[in-house]
């Protein structure tokens, strides 16, 4: 029974994913370039497909899948449903790293920028996790709020640095998430590596989510798995940030929505999670391309509007209505 329902949910997501992917390939500022003209072997269509539409769609899918997985791993490690690269300062730290690489090295290759971003994202996240562990805050909703403030502080450092070095325009550009920038697209393919690792480690990340003692009881090397998780998070955050800029809230709302449908056993739900994330961002991307056609809105804006509303709902539920979080918090206090 429940197995059948599961299969149906999975099929629905898969169908939605295929339709949205095709739609994403179909939509573009050159209206007469379409899937059918590509199949018929039109020279221009082929060029546009290979150099614009296909990379863009792939980037959307990979960035979305990557950030969803990064978010879920972060929530598992911190055992807090409100954690994500956006609410733990990871994204802001990646931005600072990118800015620093630009200030000191000028225009370098995307890979160098990604390395800077990665190191900063990793250190930034480690710092936040260490501080949070020391504070021992019981109320789960305060942690992401603290994280947002922490991110704000890092962003302020970036802003100050950009003022000093007169690179405000560059910083502004970094902080706009967009799939219309073709420059560093290939960096998003780096995401494939951490994604494969997280599929292989899926069970371990789920077990970590049940607590350190629980994991140790099962003979898991807790610190090593947490360390690996943080590296995966930083790698995904940094490479997507350099490639397409920030995609706020994806790492937060997608895992929450997916686990409420598919549960937390990562081994079974990690593919669903990736597909669901991809569907969401594909949808937002198509919407932002069609809204003011033939121009396009910034994807950060679309995602922020949709994702912000969903985030608020989850946050308010966690604070007031959320039965589960509430009773769990009450129990841990008592």
């Amino acid at each position: 029974m429940s197995l059948l329902r599961r299969q149906w949910k999975r099929i629905t997501i898969l169908v939605a994913f295929v339709i949205l992917t095709l739609l994403s390939l179909e939509v573009g500022s050159m209206a007469d370039v379409s899937l059918s003209s590509f199949i018929h072997g039109d020279e221009l269509s082929r060029f546009i497909f290979i150099h614009s539409r296909l990379p863009r769609t792939l980037a959307v899918i990979l960035a979305a899948a990557g950030l969803s997985v990064a978010g879920l791993i972060m929530q598992s490690i911190s055992r807090n449903k409100f954690m994500s690269p956006t609410t733990a300062g990871t994204t802001d730290a990646a931005a600072l790293g990118l800015l620093i690489s630009f200030v000191f090295l000028g225009h370098t290759s995307g890979y160098v920028q990604a390395v800077f971003s990665f190191v900063f994202a990793l250190v930034g996240t480690l710092l936040f996790t260490a501080v949070i562990n020391r504070l021992k805050i019981r109320e789960v909703v305060y942690i992401p709020l603290l994280g947002l403030m922490y991110g704000g502080v890092i962003a302020a450092i970036s802003t100050a640095l950009s003022f000093q070095t007169e690179t405000q325009t560059v910083l502004n550009q970094f902080n706009l998430g967009t799939f219309a920038r073709l420059g560093n697209f290939e960096l998003v393919y780096v995401v494939v590596i951490p994604l494969i690792i997280s599929v292989a480690y899926a069970t371990k990340f789920s077990i970590i989510g049940l607590g350190a003692d629980f994991a140790k009881n099962l003979g898991l090397n807790y610190n090593r798995v947490v360390g690996l998780g943080l590296i995966i998070i930083a790698l995904i955050s940094a490479s997507t940030f350099v490639a397409v800029g920030p995609l706020p809230f994806i790492g937060l709302i997608i895992p929450n929505m997916t686990t409420s449908i598919f549960g937390d056993n990562l081994k079974r739900s990690i593919i669903d999670l990736m597909l669901f994330g991809a569907c969401f961002v594909l949808f937002c991307d198509i919407a932002s391309r069609l809204m003011i056609f033939p121009f396009e809105m910034n994807i950060s804006v679309t995602i922020s509007v949709v994702g912000g509303v969903i985030f608020m709902i989850y946050l308010l539920r966690g604070m007031y209505g959320g039965k589960k979080t509430r009773s769990a918090a009450a129990k841990s206090r008592g």
């Binding site: 069970t203 077990i207 099962l218 898991l220 686990t259 549960g263 769990a328 841990s332």
Partner: protein
């Protein structure tokens, strides 16, 4: 065999760990050993040290003759299972998922047929067949506790350590849980060490009781030797009155009505001596006997 030798644990940075000093115990095989004591006596810390969740600072814990600090965590996990109270369950997994995690030390997450068999066995043993696809947050506290025990069973270790398994359980489920723990020992030959808050559960179900005070073992022995006012009064810093039921000691510790309980206790006592009572029960007994004959 688990032996604790000269364990001392000074105050650590993690605030919830108490100190331990100079603890020497040998865990009795195939018995329920109950750790009792006031809050902060070091029961949970001792359990953590014995399972190497908290590595011993001085002294040794020997598991089958080898220092646990020298054994790989994944190997310890095949011999010792430790269930701590899981208060915070924000994760949505099904009972089956949980029980399958119990096989992790043996298969590393990739379940073979033998592992699946063990999982099915554990689920059947704990009467959870109807609930396997339910999420942990959809079931009652008693069912959840049973699911965790099923996971421990799937882990298939000779030693089982339980830290306050009766927390958050009402009386019915507490008794059910202790009966299950008893069966683990009598049917499956496990060795169980359990921290119990309610001293009467220890008195009723444990074969061996270790009373702790201020990080030291104050007294250990059979229930009848430990459940005495001489031991319990200093351990809990409280006045105890001990009575007996079916040869098992029972503690009465309700201060305000101590006098009343005293009287009641005497009354019960009288019933235990038939010659002081009326003849009716004897007559009745004879009747029954003749019917049987």
């Amino acid at each position: 065999m688990i032996e604790v030798k000269n364990i001392s644990q000074s105050y650590s940075r993690q605030s919830d760990n108490e100190t331990l000093s100079d603890i020497n115990i040998t865990v009795r095989e195939n018995t329920i050993t109950a750790l009792v004591g006031a809050n902060g006596a070091g029961k949970s810390t001792l359990l953590s040290v014995m399972t190497n969740l908290l590595p011993a600072k001085s002294g040794q814990v020997m598991l089958d003759g080898v220092d646990v600090r020298k054994i790989k965590t994944s190997e310890i996990a095949k011999k010792v299972a430790f269930l701590k109270q899981t208060h915070h369950l924000s994760i949505r997994i099904t009972i089956k998922d949980l029980v399958e995690y119990g096989r992790f030390p043996h298969c590393g997450g990739r379940l073979k047929d033998a592992d699946k068999e063990k999982v099915a066995e554990a689920i059947t043993y704990m009467n959870l067949e109807d609930l396997v696809d339910k999420y942990l947050d959809e079931i009652s506290g008693g069912q959840r506790q049973r699911a965790f025990i099923a996971m421990i069973l799937a882990q298939d270790t000779p030693y089982i350590f339980l830290d306050e398994p009766l927390n958050n359980l009402d009386i019915k489920y507490s008794v059910e849980m202790m009966k299950i723990v008893g069966k683990l020992v009598s049917d499956l030959g496990k060795t169980v060490v359990v921290v119990l808050h309610d001293i009467n559960f220890a008195a009723a179900y444990a074969g061996h009781i270790i009373a702790m005070k201020d990080g030291k073992v104050y007294k250990e022995g059979a229930p009848l030797d430990v459940i005495t006012p001489e031991v319990l009064d200093p351990v809990f810093d409280h006045n105890f009155h001990i009575t007996k039921h079916d040869g098992r000691p029972i503690c009465l510790y309700y201060d305000h009505s101590m006098k009343h309980i005293h009287n009641h206790g005497d009354h019960v006592h009288m019933h235990e001596h038939p010659h002081e009572d009326s003849d009716v029960p004897h007559a009745h007994q004879k009747e029954v006997r003749s019917e049987i004959n």
